[in-house]
């Protein structure tokens, strides 16, 4: 059920409409930013430097911001890690261009200085621990470096002599973003060591290979003592997480699951019967999420991140049982509020949509 705050005397949309004639980033309620510049980090990673309006409430290193862009008349939202530092006047996000990604391709290819882009408030609990005492280990893969780069810089700013190891996996040498900056940081901070671990043969050197105990033994033999941070593609996070689990160290590992488990093309899923109460429609579908099923049925519910973060798509489950694809939690309480973008039906489900 949509909730509305009591209508103020003057409609805020009206004031926003007037304000945007003065400056397209002005708004009472929404966070608009102006693109200041764009910078290529690698062939497929681009940093956008943004100047937000005063609605933006800041961020903690390691957090992401939802970014909303209208493409073909449709407002799309994706979340990107912040790669600037909190004291800067501008905000930087670094985007990996996905070959078929609607938003990432637009941000990488089309966005240019002067454009106005809407963002949301920063979110995410992939941040440094309050205590700065323990040594740290970061494991990043691909675009996962964006959040990790922020954390490394914040940790070094907090303590010049912080003891940090970074294992950075990427396809080739040319795909390493922030390699120069990380190298400079390592030169200035003797207790910060960075291992670049490309997966394909280039520069005449042998590939480093996938995450293994050898890498840990080489770079961080004291890994059980370290607070570990993990951000990367599904394969890497699975491998690292199970390694930490086997070592009984899960409590020392923080992870940012930016990519949903890639079982979207699983074929053993059985069709579930999903009823949309308000639309008076019932469909059978084997699509992976209730959102996908709703869209297949021609419904157009509000959506945001589509990955279980922003809660834009939250709606009431009248009855049924669903599994949260991110946390694995099972929910079957009638009347519970669920995020349909990450909810998989485990039987007949009725939604208040």
């Amino acid at each position: 059920m949509p909730t509305r705050s009591p209508t103020p005397l003057v409609d805020t949309h009206w004031i926003d409409f007037a304000l945007q004639h003065l400056d397209r980033t002005f708004s009472l309620t929404r966070t608009f930013t102006r693109v200041v510049k764009t910078r290529h980090e690698t062939a497929d990673m681009t940093t956008l430097v943004l100047k937000p309006n005063r609605r933006f409430r800041g961020f903690v290193p390691g957090q992401y911001v939802p970014v909303r862009v209208a493409i073909g008349g449709v407002l799309h939202e994706r979340s990107y890690s912040v790669t600037s530092e909190p004291h800067e006047r501008t905000l930087a996000i670094t985007v990996k261009r996905q070959p078929t990604g609607t938003v990432s391709r637009w941000l990488a290819d089309e966005a240019e200085p002067g454009d106005v882009i809407e963002i949301g408030q920063a979110a995410g609990d992939f941040v440094l621990p309050a205590s700065a005492a323990a040594p740290l280990l970061f494991i990043a893969g691909g675009s996962g470096i964006t959040a990790v780069y922020s954390l490394v810089r914040a940790a070094l700013r907090r303590r010049r002599d912080a003891n940090i190891v970074l294992l950075y996996y990427a396809r080739g040498h040319a795909d390493l973003a922030f390699a120069r900056e990380l190298g400079e940081l390592a030169a200035r901070h003797p207790l910060f060591r960075v291992a670049f671990l490309p997966q394909v043969l280039d520069d005449g050197r042998a590939p480093a290979g996938r995450f293994s105990s050898t890498h840990l033994a080489t770079w961080a033999p004291d890994y059980p003592e370290r607070d570990a941070f993990l951000c990367g593609p599904a394969g890497l996070t699975r491998a690292v997480a199970s390694y930490w689990e086997d070592a009984g160290l899960t409590h020392k590992l923080r992870r940012e699951a930016f990519v949903l488990g890639s079982d979207d093309d699983r074929t053993d899923r059985v069709a579930a019967s999903v009823s949309f109460r308000r639309s008076v429609r019932t469909v059978q579908s084997a699509a992976p999420t209730l959102l996908a099923i709703a869209e297949e049925a021609g419904l157009r519910p509000s959506t945001g991140c589509r990955m279980g973060i922003c809660r834009t798509c939250t709606c009431t489950m009248v009855s049924g049982t669903v599994r949260d694809r991110v946390t694995g939690a099972i929910e079957s309480a009638a009347g519970s509020r669920i995020r349909i973008c990450v909810s998989e039906p485990l039987g007949p489900v009725t939604l208040d949509l």
């Binding site: 209508t7 008349g73 449709v74 959506t303």
Partner: protein, 368 residues
Amino acid sequence: MNDDIETTLPASSRHRALTTLELDAIGTELDTLRSEVIAGLGEREASYIRQVQAIVRYTEIGGRGLLFVGWLPPAWLAGTSLLAFSKIVDNMELGHNVMHGQYDWMNEPTLRGDTYEWDHACEGDAWRHSHNYLHHTFTNVEGRDRDIGYGFLRLFPSQRWQPLHLIQPAIAVGLAALFQWGISLHDLEIDRVVRGKVPVEKVARDAAPVLRKALRQFAKDYVLFPLLAGPAFLPVLTGNLAANLARNLWTFGIIFCGHFTADVETFPETVLEDESRGAWYVRQMRGSSNLTGGPLFHFLSGNLSHQIEHHLFPDVPAVRYADMAERVRGICERYGQSYNTGSFWTQFTSVVSRIVRYALPFDAAVAA
């Protein structure tokens, strides 16, 4: 019984009977048309509705601004006209259509059908219930669609005559003049409470948001803006009254021409039993009527001049109805269904004659 040739929708004076198979075929053809149009939605429609939103706002600023110097007769006239124009577009092409969810695909929070609020006395959620749900689902079904005569006008011979209907031409004029207030109270079903069909408690529960919105709307047009105008209190008050009157008359005219013209049909409640998608479509076609006119006329009607297309595809952006109309008309012709259309004056005259004729206690047999 042979299902293939079984007639599920009977013939009537203007339409031939249709078999189950034909109804399914019509359903498939219209579903295809709908998917084609939905698939083609994009930048064009998105920037269109933003332009409409901007037009509504610029004309409202212009209209209210001119009324502030409304002691000058030309300024009063221009201000009132602009404000009436703004309110009409806000009600029809913007508000009515956005609240149907026609622009939900844009995912733009300010244009979402389920939260949008308009410059109208009728509160958004009450409207979404009485109009989007009841009227659009049960279109022209007797006893279910409360828009048939709005609970107190007798427009079809199948409605039971009561002595109060004798003065319904006068009541209809009053309703036209105060249309936004009538719509505002419509969802409270006061007529059914009086007849003991709905408990008083339900009204008490639903009334608060409806009255709050109505009060707010009244205060805005008849207290706040006149007071803001200071010495121009009177011209602003009269200008707002006149603009609301013009909007009320216009929307009354368009909406009554959509379902109460000479050739539209109403249906007994039994049609709802196991009604197929095709049969639902045909009921919408037989229960609605279109208006012919130029682009400005269609725009001012919120494209509800394409009432048939609107009832077939209530959540497709109305700006596309004109294109869809040719295909719909073709389908009607191929299946022997009359496509009810005419000029505003032809259609409106037939509405007026209904209001007058059924004020008298004619029964179905006499009327036919």
